[in-house]
Symmetry: C2
């Protein structure tokens, strides 16, 4: 079975950067927005619509009671179609080879692959700082406004994750390793993390 | 400033083994029950009594409102004396050289040293299994009884930690790294963890 690493992360924690650098260092494939493109191809729906659905948690209420995506094949909504395609695409990706997958509730969807599930988080000050460094469109925002954006994005991530997985987002018991990136440059953690991951998969 | 690593852990998670192996690998001093011996020497109280106080969370209610140990120098109870000695001893240890300290609320007491704080945890099945492998006195216990013991010990650890630090025990935001040791031998994680720790301190 291939080595699958899933990355869940708080907005501004540097989780995406961590996933990308880790994949490079390990020589694994890296997937993030690629998954959206693959779902769009599979469903023939617009990427923008898929992004909206998968990132806002606007799923039908019934999903809370679904044990797996496959248990709702008869639901005809476009959200169901997207979710089924999401599961299908993620499983295809997991079969292709070793991979790092950021977001997309991959840890829950791919649980049968026994993935290594990483959660990346940081204190609010560090997250605001990271947003300022990475994005150009936040220049005119105050720290309070950036903080508000972070909370709103994370609220949606939490809702998406919990409605699909039935588990707590950011609850350490649902992850193999939780990494606090407060006051640290992500790249300094990568060599150790690579070796840690290799040790974990060779268990 | 010396590199200080504190280890908090769920009972049966292998946190003590992890701390010991990590200290060996890094060439750092290792402290666990040594701290109790040092407090006994400092206070001239019996080790058994100190163990009882520091492990059962039987602290006066007023500690919940203490901002630091030093803010209660006038409290004359033996528990206060032990806590003051605990803070003194831990700070002496931190000044001596690089160290790994297991338990003793060291992450809160030594916060001014900017320690790397690790929390070690695992699912209940793995913790029960580890207890069976490590201890000889659990042979006659059922899994349910071992589970009950684990929950009780952790309840006391949580109480001790929270009354002294005012923070949540096991809440990932209070730690630098949270390590899940379910279904894994601790020793396989050490080479990666060593490198990770070195990266973190060289930040």
């Amino acid at each position: 079975m291939n080595n699958i690493i899933t990355i869940s992360r708080e907005f501004g924690s540097g989780g995406k950067e961590l996933g990308k650098r880790l994949a490079e260092e390990l020589g694994y494939a890296y997937y993030d927005s690629e998954i959206i493109t693959m779902i769009a191809k599979d469903t023939k729906m617009a990427k923008e619509y898929i992004e909206k659905i998968t990132q806002t948690g606007e799923y039908p209420y019934e999903f809370q009671f679904a044990k797996s995506f496959e248990s709702y094949p008869t639901m005809q909504s476009s959200q169901t179609e997207i979710l089924l395609a999401q599961a299908k695409v993620l499983k295809e990706v997991a079969k292709r080879g070793n991979a790092v997958i950021v977001g997309r509730v991959a840890n829950a969807i791919l649980s049968e692959y026994n993935p290594m599930n990483i959660f990346v988080y940081a204190d609010m000050k560090s997250k605001v700082k990271r947003c300022r460094e990475k994005a150009t469109d936040v220049e005119k925002l105050t720290d309070k406004q950036i903080e508000k954006n972070i909370r709103e994005i994370d609220k949606r991530r939490k809702a998406c994750f919990e409605i699909i997985s039935g588990k707590g987002w950011g609850d350490k018991n649902n992850y193999t390793l939780c990494i606090n990136t407060s006051n640290i440059e992500v790249k300094t953690l990568i060599p150790g993390l690579k070796l840690y991951v290799e040790g974990w998969f060779n268990k």
